[in-house]
Subunit: 442 residues, 2 copies
């Protein structure tokens, strides 16, 4: 048997169901993996091995017929999500000494109810808002960033330290680390998972994000979170043959570097080979305005969201957040409202466009993870989809010019989350096998 | 000097600034008032007098030049808002024994930074979502509801137990208790105050609400929360004379009972007497759809918001919340999205209409607080404005057929919060003096 830490959540669950693996042994394997790798990757801000093992033993003590669908599945939690038994520190000096809040964020309640083993807290940029990175490194190259702001969850899942990670996305904070770490990353439709108990930056954009090393694991999570489309997903796998797949370069395509360009062409060729009809599509002109609207919504909403902490400890806060609270960009309410209304007008337009295809691809990132851990990279390709509030799935499988992973994003109409995952699973199989990048263990 | 508990926040602050009142003495006066009245009104779910006095003494120890703009102002907090030193129990059996969460909701951080004295937690309906009332009573008639879901904050402020209360509004949960208790109630523009750390029901509607017994106090709070319109509010009082004031019956006018109808006519007459041009306006037909859209958005978002607690303690939850999670109304995602998009389309239409007037009035409630405390009343007149995300101010001053208070709501375009308060202050002076209802002390 492979070391348990190498397993996906679904594989580990299978063994546990058969009685071939205890939660405690599973947790021990993950803890050993973390011990071996943490000095290099630095994905965790809070991890108490004894507490993890104590929780694992409690899960093992649950009779088999009372176990939840995520029984014993280890989950790394971005440190902007409240966990009752672990502190939540937001990578902020203001919360450096804060104790465990004794209250769980709503998604944590759901995961615990399903039997998940909440493992520890993973690194984030300050309040999940800046692109100042560190200390986490990319597991595939310690001289590169794992992306952000969900840095630790992306790196920990990419490095086989846990099978599942929770992130959040306001710009590109879930999808970008997904691409940089070579894993599946899913940002569901805005509102499809409760965000009670998550740090607030932008009410319009903030969304819980999910990481895994297989699309199957994301389907498992989406069933726990009771995601539901109007049309049920077929029981049989998505048929690439005969499907109609759009490639949407989006208004920021000029930012795509050689790695993303190559992934783009490879993906089109692979899908065509598999019998799909592939078509490049262009969005109506108005969509080019969304990038600015997104910035304006973040500036306007950040002004509100960071006020309390600004009053509490301005000197410990990033200058960008001062700028938000002080409205240094002199954003008018009128411009903020025009941004809301503009995005709202385009949401159904996008839904209509996407509904004409079985799947739509768009870039995840400008290219492979950049050198250096000081900056978590560019979210340009993600922010439009975040504020359109649509489901986004990063599918790994491609390699950049330095052999680092690059993914592409499958986007769908709002509340077609399960359809996106369904298509992503079949397409991901192809990309993983033939896209040119392979997951490695370090 | 009047007993300190009778003072508005601004009046108490004035005395404290002059050194004529300590926070401790102020708190003692409020505590005595609560002690005298609590058996009848039952506004509080958590109140620790010793702890309040300890906090008060700490505030008194702050040197005069370091005191905040709300120094010593007592605030009652609806029990769905996290307070680090007091439990938050949501009127839910699931949280009956939960300890203080050691973390403050964002608005509480802001209030504490301004020197407020967080006094205790006030009653709410279960998760601020149902209209099942009790145990709180209306201070003006213990056989009547104080409204809900912000029952305790509305009753406590109306009964002179604290000068300021925090509520929330998803349908009419701030404005309705405002009207029923004869106080000023303000629901700012959606997003104008952070909702981090508040219970989540509907991301699209949930808004923090503020209670006070004077418009001046609400202006003080809005300055602490740094609400800001694009156009500054004039330094001089709003001139009713020469102003253009619209009266918008809204698509649910048929629900207005005799008390609200009388208040409506009285208000028009008073404003006309004062030299305003008063005009009844009708909204375009599409606005009649908003009531259903609001229900659908709550059903769709409640499905997500209550999932965690449903999994945790379904048997301790209200059947309506089961219905949300189980989607018993069989709401499709398509209908939910059409509701989002329909409301989004009408928001700028409303802003344009409202911008043509100096002030727009609409009913707050169907009539005076109904008999019985088992049901918190009807939110029909509020829900449209909540989902339009516009500022709403309940102005008291009118009397129903049983002598109970009735208010009217001043509504504005989004992010014209200060303008609404500015107009509301001048108009409130008139309504309070000549509307026919007078605040009484019991």
């Amino acid at each position: 048997m492979a070391e348990p830490y190498r397993l996906t959540a679904s594989q580990a669950l299978g063994l546990m169901k058969k009685g071939d693996l205890t939660v405690e042994d599973y947790a021990k394997s993950l803890l050993a993996r973390i011990k071996a790798r943490d000095e290099e990757v630095k994905a965790w801000v809070y991890l108490d091995p004894d507490f993890v093992l104590e929780q694992a033993r409690k899960l093992d003590a649950i009779p088999a017929d009372q176990r939840g669908p995520l029984h014993g599945v280890a989950v790394g939690v971005k440190d902007v999500i409240l966990t009752k038994d672990m502190p939540t520190r937001h990578n902020s000096g203001i919360y450096a000494d804060t104790p465990a809040p004794l209250v769980d964020a709503a998604p944590i309640i759901t995961l615990r109810a399903a039997g998940a083993l909440i493992f520890g807290k993973t690194t984030t940029t300050e309040f999940a808002s800046t692109s100042d990175g560190g200390p986490s490194c990319n597991p595939h190259d310690k001289n590169r960033t794992p992306g952000g702001s969900s840095s630790g969850s992306g790196a920990a899942v990419g490095d086989y330290q846990v099978p599942i990670g929770l992130g959040t996305q306001t710009g590109g904070s879930t999808i970008r680390p997904g691409s940089f770490n070579g894993i599946y990353a899913f940002k569901p439709t805005w509102g499809a998972i409760s965000r009670e108990g998550l740090a607030q930056y932008s009410m319009t954009c903030d969304t819980l994000g999910l990481y895994a090393r297989s699309a199957e694991d994301l389907e498992l999570l989406s069933s726990v979170f009771q995601l539901a489309d109007d049309e049920p997903v077929p029981a049989e796998p998505f048929a690439i043959k005969g499907s109609k797949i759009a490639f949407c370069k989006s208004p920021v395509w000029a930012k795509a570097g050689p790695g993303t360009q190559k992934a783009w062409e490879t993906a089109k060729a692979l899908l065509t080979q598999q019998g799909a009809t592939v078509e490049e599509i262009e969005l109506p002109e108005d969509f080019a305005k969304i990038k600015q609207w997104h910035s304006q919504v973040l500036a306007g909403e950040g002004r509100t969201s960071f006020l309390g902490n600004y009053l509490l400890g301005k000197d410990k806060m990033h200058k960008m957040l001062h700028g938000h609270v002080e409205n240094s960009s002199k954003l008018s309410r009128k411009a903020q409202l025009e941004s809301y209304d503009g995005c709202a007008r385009l949401r159904p337009v996008w839904d209509d466009i996407a509904s004409k295809y079985d799947a739509v691809f768009t870039p995840s990132v400008t290219g492979e993870a950049p050198l250096g851990i000081g900056n978590t990279g560019d979210a340009s390709f993600c922010s439009m989809w975040t504020i359109l509030q649509v489901p986004c799935l990063n599918i790994p499988g491609f390699a950049g010019e330095n052999g680092m992973p690059i993914g592409l994003t499958l986007v769908g109409p709002r509340y077609h989350d399960l359809h996106v995952l369904h298509a992503g699973k079949a397409i991901g199989d192809v990309f993983e096998k033939e896209g040119g990048w392979e997951m490695k263990l370090f």
